[in-house]
């Protein structure tokens, strides 16, 4: 196996990993702040993929452009979902939240299955197969676009949390819920915003994925697991950690599908997960011991 081949694969892994990172960022934001594990995360990603596919099919809208309206739509969905349904589960036991979200996941994925059927749908972009030669490396154009798009969205989110008052207020909620109530922050509204933002991330990531993977209902559970893995590897509540862990897992998967069968690539991400849980349970960027 040549060095250049491995280098190409690593670059592909980094690019894919950034999309994973964005997806995981959505989960991390919800998990870290609302303290609800969104077990329907991958299902939302698949839903976003189908919507992007439909927009492309009907309106010839490029998935990378469709990412914007889809993110906006998902923000709204997340906001309403939190207000109407999930908020009453915030104080409930973890396993109750789990059943609620699993129920939602089942509804979403089977809704997609009923509407679109079990076969994968393919959005044929004019540049689907373009690739660039960077020195000796071969890089797929769509992956580069998806990676750049993910990075932009992720940085916007980070800036929002760092630079705006509302973003700071959301961090404050995560920091000390009691204190947030004491200073008079409207925590319900902030949670709803957070859930909306989390879904916006997964909406954008899903839409951009459509250019790389053909949407198919059976992708969903694997995506939920992947996002979950990335969040825990990166460290709960660390947004930078989610991005880095996304890249790490992307590279690990890409390399392992090179040396082993492609069907074994998720073995690599689980191996990373087990290692992290055993050696550094709080995650690579997590705080505390």
């Amino acid at each position: 196996m040549s060095l250049t081949l491995s280098a190409s694969v690593i670059v592909q892994g980094v690019l894919t990993g950034l999309v994973y990172g964005l997806m995981a960022l959505g989960l991390s934001v919800i998990f870290g702040i609302v303290r609800v594990v969104n077990f329907a995360h991958g299902e939302f990603a698949v839903l976003a993929m189908y919507i992007a596919y439909l927009l492309f099919f009907w309106l010839k809208l490029d998935p990378f452009l469709a990412a914007l309206p889809i993110a906006a739509l998902f923000f709204g969905v997340g906001y309403l979902l939190q207000r109407a349904l999930i908020n009453s589960f915030v104080a409930r036991a973890e396993h109750d939240q789990f059943i609620l979200m699993v129920g939602l996941a089942i509804v979403l994925v089977n809704g997609c299955l009923m509407i679109f059927g079990p076969e994968a749908r393919h959005a044929e972009l004019s540049y689907s197969l373009d690739s660039w030669l960077a020195g000796p490396l071969i890089i797929d154009a769509v992956r580069v676009y998806a990676a750049i798009g993910s990075l932009v969205v992720a940085l916007m989110l980070l800036a929002f949390f760092r630079l705006t008052d509302t973003g700071t207020a959301i961090r404050a909620c995560a920091d000390n819920r009691l204190a947030a109530a004491i200073v008079g922050l409207d925590t319900r509204r902030l949670y709803a915003l957070t859930f909306g933002l989390g879904l916006a991330c997964v909406g954008a990531a899903g839409a951009m994925q459509t250019a790389i993977i053909d949407p198919n209902p059976s992708l969903a559970p694997g995506m939920t697991l992947l996002a979950f893995t990335v969040v825990i590897v990166g460290g709960l509540g660390s947004l930078i950690g989610a991005l880095f862990a996304g890249i790490l897992i992307g590279v690990a998967e890409a390399l392992s599908s090179l040396v082993m069968a492609p069907s074994m690539k998720s073995l690599a991400s689980f191996a990373v997960l087990v290692l992290v849980l055993v050696l550094r349970p709080q995650g690579l960027f997590g705080k505390g011991g």
């Binding site: 700071t168 207020a169 404050a172 920091d175 947030a180 109530a181 004491i182 200073v183 008079g184 409207d186």
Partner: protein, 234 residues
């Protein structure tokens, strides 16, 4: 300014407040004294809208506020310096203060209030970029008060503000509360330092097992034999 009638609060089946009635007149300090577990924190949190009352009524400036959500109560000008300080540990001092000014009533004058807080507590100004979690107990208590002031409250409820402070700092703290009251703020003061806080207070209520068992002017309560025995060990 604040008046409470027949307030009862439960945690599940356990009753924490039983038919509590009290009045807090404007512009002075009202002390609430009681042993551990008497229900003082419960009372403050119920006023703040963080706990819901089973029965009874709370009115503030002639307006019934029972059942209002916490953030709306705060926006009416009822601030709180909570038990155990409750700062945001990973936020900087300045971000902590900003969180106090998220209330609609305080947004516009945020800059001015920030200056006021920094003048009042120069220490906070020196450490504005430091994470609140890394500050000393006394500094965190200043921050908690400063953050509360950022919301432009007219009534502040202090829940054991001197907890964990050295005797010198306790006096400073009570002096600060005294001067806030001088400047026209209404205060509710829950304190372990019964003697010092009663001296400072115009009115006082003694809470036992969720019930008001004694009330009167600060001096009268301080002179009461039962209080002297139970809380001052005299």
């Amino acid at each position: 300014m604040l008046s409470i009638r027949n307030l009862s609060v439960f945690y599940g089946d356990a009753q924490a407040l039983d038919n509590v009635s009290l009045d807090v007149p404007a512009g002075s300090i009202t002390a609430i004294v009681g042993a551990n577990g008497a229900g003082k924190t419960t009372l403050i949190r119920t006023i703040a809208g963080m706990l819901s009352a089973a029965s009874g009524e709370i009115s503030y400036k002639e307006r019934i506020i029972t059942g209002l959500p916490g953030h709306q109560v705060c926006d009416l000008g009822i601030g709180q310096v909570a038990e155990g300080r409750q700062v945001f540990p990973t936020l900087t001092v300045e971000e902590n203060l900003a969180m106090g000014a998220m209330l609609p009533r305080a947004r516009a004058s945020r800059k001015r209030n920030l200056e006021r807080v920094y003048t009042m507590f120069p220490r906070l100004s020196e450490r504005r970029r430091q994470n609140a979690g890394t500050m000393s107990g006394g500094e965190q208590q200043m921050l908690a008060i400063g953050r509360c002031l950022m919301g432009e409250p007219e009534l502040i409820m202090f829940d054991e503000p001197s907890l964990g402070l050295s005797p010198a700092l306790v006096s400073d703290m009570l002096a600060t509360i005294g001067s806030l009251s001088q400047s026209g703020l209404t205060c509710i003061l829950v304190e372990q330092n019964v003697a010092q806080s009663l001296k400072l207070s115009a009115y006082a209520y003694v809470l036992e097992n969720g019930r008001i068992v004694l009330s009167g002017s600060g001096a009268a309560v301080l002179g009461d034999d039962r209080v002297r025995q139970a809380y001052l060990g005299l």
